[in-house]
Point group: C2
Chain length 343, copies 2
Amino acid sequence: MPEWRRDPVVDRWVAIATERGKRPSDFRCVVHERNDTACPLCAGCEEHTPPEVMAFRRAGTPKDAPGWWVRVVPNKFPAVKIEEGQEVFHRGIYEVREGLGAHEVVVEVPQHVDNLDVQSEKQVAEVLWAWRERSLDLRRDTRFKYIQIFKNYGSTAGASLEHAHSQIIATPMVPAEVRNELEGFHRYARAAGRCIFCDLVAQEAAERERLVIQEKHFLALAPFASRFPFELWIVPTEHQHDFAQIREGQIRELARMLRACLRKLSVLLYDPPYNLVLHTSPVNEPEVEQYHWHLEILPRLTVIAGFELGTGYYINPTPPELAARYLRETEAHFEEMPYRGVG
Amino acid sequence: MPEWRRDPVVDRWVAIATERGKRPSDFRCVVHERNDTACPLCAGCEEHTPPEVMAFRRAGTPKDAPGWWVRVVPNKFPAVKIEEGQEVFHRGIYEVREGLGAHEVVVEVPQHVDNLDVQSEKQVAEVLWAWRERSLDLRRDTRFKYIQIFKNYGSTAGASLEHAHSQIIATPMVPAEVRNELEGFHRYARAAGRCIFCDLVAQEAAERERLVIQEKHFLALAPFASRFPFELWIVPTEHQHDFAQIREGQIRELARMLRACLRKLSVLLYDPPYNLVLHTSPVNEPEVEQYHWHLEILPRLTVIAGFELGTGYYINPTPPELAARYLRETEAHFEEMPYRGVG
């Protein structure tokens, strides 16, 4: 029977079409356009980007030159700018504020490859360290209230550059989605006296049917009210509200799990486009400790269309229990690229 | 300078990139796949759909046979079902309810064409009458709290069938988006004592810079905090909370304006994919008279990606004032199809 499922934290209902349950083979293979023209993100092309704000690079190599293994640069075409103020204007019923923000690009590898999951675990861990470092640095500007870290892979998921990269946008407002989530965390804590995501970890580990990978510090699971077919969340097993609090042992395990999840999706679904979204607590704001950070991997095999845009609800043709079973059974084969961090 | 703009009703901020302001020519032409295989929505193929729930048809022609000019059928693969109950179950932290709902397809023309804007004004008006009639009929089932009418045009906007059609999904919950909007209407009414959309109509008619078409009963405008390039809203000039209250004179004018808006988009942007979403008040619910219904036309030239999914906010590269100017200057050329309503 079909079901409406409510996201436990935010008020978002998803219609899960259990009967027509779409299998992986129902989604046609997505062919990514390969692009052989000059890439501004490759090592050796540093002059094609704005000056780097940070890089992990070989000792002694100069800024904005080769020798790096992860490099962060301002977006050349930023949606928002760090030089802007935060004055607010009113025009009749409307409200505008100056376009303050930061928009950065994390170049995840020096060589021209498009996907992260063929990198070594160590390289993936270095990307996570870069996210953490930028998050800590950007919040020193106390005008910022949120730091959104995300990744668009494949053109139908919004990637305009092929070279493996993620993005960071810092905003002077706590975004609506995050505020809704935080309210959901607070509501549950008031009622149950516990963190709903800590309870989620316990329930998923016990029920197992939506579990994909279980390790000490993290679970990878198909969320109960998945919006997208084969949606995956990676959730820390212990309470931690802020991604930037992540410790070295956690980073190592997260790198391994993230790589395995992406690899499983790639093997099972023929290299699908996806968005990766880090959900973490606001910064420079009080009362955010109830938040429980997590990573969302959102394969883009279905289209966000009129129903979703009108209602904020979703129709998902693949039950998460079925998705989890497929993903558990998929081996994460690795044809590993050599670690080129120091060369 | 870039700007953050707040939607006046819901808390949704949009970064408008005023400087890199994308022109129509910056969006590549979208080629729709033409499909010559048998279409289940064409007149003469009625046996390929479930039995019709309603049709405007020539007197004396039998159900589920040719002779109709607008035909409404249940979706063959419904996301939700009218036979389901509305029992709610709890599984630990999760909540599920039976998949009650209605999912219908409005076949907008009998012949195999994919777009509405080449139809006669009268044919477009007939589609609007069908929407109204289905809305009034579906709400007689008092379990339904919302009736979402929408249209997906083009495969990147989610259309899986080429033949011109719109869809109706009735849900047993008031969707999150609608609830947020309704709260916005109430908040403004408490503060100002007026309807915010009535004030919006007055302000837009006075400022004119976002206005595209102005007639007696409706304005077509590029909304102040447009999420998408060339987004258009059609707003009734007088207060009306429920689309189904629409009168004959309004329908005639709305048909003309909707057709002109779609035609302008098609001429200016080379037949872009779009979603059309009807925003109207909940049904079978108290205190909804503050709502002010409107139609949203959302061209899909940009991708909803990680930032939008993570934050609920949007990045729009085309300022609405620029979009409105282009759309005002675009002639809505019509190569009109003959009205085949009674043939």
